[in-house]
Subunit: 320 residues, 2 copies
């Protein structure tokens, strides 16, 4: 047992439905708390049960409104849902319009829904370690679906694809037409495309262009997944049941095809690597004075050592 955290009780309470215990566990992830290691050991067998769905898209496409409507649709199927929002400009972390916040609050009193904004400490790298760990915790706590919402800004879109079993890319008419989508590299990462605000002018054009772009990049082998392009009006809930069905379809396909397992193994590899690199950096900082990074940096800066030899020495000191 960890000195300050009773991990066994906390995990048991979270599994029994205590939102407070779940929130506490996610906080341990955010804080990179020493007890996290024990948590991960305890929950390992149940840490991969949930379906992880990534939701990404440029600001303004209606990401949080769609997420909220998707939560409602999943709840109608009696699925327990957790939402992780992992961008500083996201509604969940305070950078949002009041309307968006109110929209998510319809789920605030539902014990089958957990909503959390993850603090990534201003560093993109943080996401790659914190979000998968939080998803593990939520999975072990019995949530059936974990929605990971990130704002689409280049690198983070590709990153969210790595985090999820299924990646849903959101667009809106006039903003995310086919060519822009291709430029942004989102065609490669989307398993499901959703054109939101489909009641607006230009929705059909966006859908058509998107389908065209997708067909150009498509592999025509039998058994391959063909990313559907769906339309929604998230503010009214229109189209959301189709999105839920498409998510289930993709999950079933990925499971049968082996793609789900491949993605999860790849994700676990990134996670292990990220933890290993973080641990190595920690050890660099813990090397005693006289053999540590500060001293080596001084020698290199003053021309008395080359950086490769300095790195060798640092690694040797960190290993011992």
């Amino acid at each position: 047992m960890n000195r300050t955290v009773d991990v066994a009780s906390l995990v048991a309470d979270a599994g029994a439905g205590s939102a407070r215990a779940v929130a506490r566990l996610v906080s341990l992830v955010e804080d990179a708390h020493p007890a996290l290691r024990e948590v991960m050991t305890v929950i390992a067998p149940d840490a991969g049960r949930a379906r992880l769905v990534g939701i990404t898209g440029a600001p303004g496409v209606g990401k949080s409104t769609t997420t909220s409507a998707l939560v409602a649709a999943l709840r109608r199927q009696d699925l327990r849902v957790a939402v992780l929002a992992v961008d500083p400009s996201s509604p969940f972390s305070g950078g949002a319009l009041l309307g968006d916040r109110i929209r998510m609050q319809e789920h605030a009193t539902d014990p089958g829904v957990f909503i959390r904004s993850m603090a990534t400490r201003g560093h993109l790298g943080g996401l790659s370690q914190a979000a998968p760990q939080a998803a593990r915790v939520l999975s072990a706590a019995g949530y059936d679906v974990v929605l990971i919402e990130t704002v689409g800004v280049g690198q983070s879109e590709v990153e969210v694809a790595g985090l999820a079993d299924t990646t849903m890319v959101l667009l809106a008419p006039g903003m995310g037409d086919g060519v822009q989508a291709a430029k942004a590299g989102i065609l490669e990462i989307g398993d499901i495309f959703v054109v939101n605000k489909a009641d607006r002018d230009g929705a059909e054009v966006t859908v058509r262009e998107l389908r065209h772009m997708i067909s150009l990049g498509e592999r025509r082998e039998p058994g391959q997944w063909r990313p559907p392009v769906l339309t929604t009006v998230a503010t009214t809930g229109q189209g959301m049941d189709d999105v839920v069905a498409a998510l289930a379809d993709h999950h079933a396909w990925a499971l049968a095809n082996g793609e789900l397992d491949r993605r999860r193994v790849r994700r676990a590899a990134s996670e292990i690597e990220a933890i290993s690199v973080a641990e190595i950096r920690r050890r660099f900082g813990a090397v005693p004075d006289g053999a540590g990074l500060a001293e080596l940096a001084g020698l290199v800066a003053h021309g008395r050592l080359d950086p490769f030899t300095a790195a060798d020495r640092l690694l040797a000191a960190a290993a011992s």
Copy 2:
């Protein structure tokens, strides 16, 4: 001696003024060639002689034109100048207007000028390792000033500040007013601010706002550097001698104040850390089957191991 590269001759030739040898050495950096280690050992004593000047700014401020004009001004003082361009959208790597390329070509036949676009292999992280190593090589080859030009896009601006002894931030009227500059975080990183295209409308407003924003953030202790705001018209060369003088002033201040040494030690520390992490990642990949990342990832993905224990095992295997 390395099997395929005669490092001693190459370094000697580079030092004797062979542009071909210098280019070859920079290629070794880009390729992360095995001979690089020997190069770095040989050149260590001379690797820190050059003044490293970072030049950053949003697209459209006239970065390459200003760089070219700055090269001309530095050449008038008989300084040997190297230019490293480290962004894919930069003129030097092919994403530019023809006019910009022609402008830099005025230096193409000058043996006192070396111009090179660095390939960072599409990954921002590459810059933090490749650019400092290239700067070492150029320093040892006898260039007095190394200009490191990067396009200003959020993170990379902060990164260029870490790479340089002096960071010059470029703005243009109407694009980079004070508030925008503050938002972009460039006020903190600039040692010298240059408002280019100063013959255009709004230049005075931009200068005034910038000075105001800088004064707000200023520490008023004696002996602190006060970042000047200069104006240039790079296309005509107007104001470039003042920029050269400001660069020399900042260098003299940083040398006397101890800031130069602090920056160089900090830079060396990042460099050593980056090389160490790259080496550790390489070792992860070299762990034999059965104890390697692939196997561990499978165990974690299937709930039979937690990622922290997997990381411990990976680090132990990589160390042995």
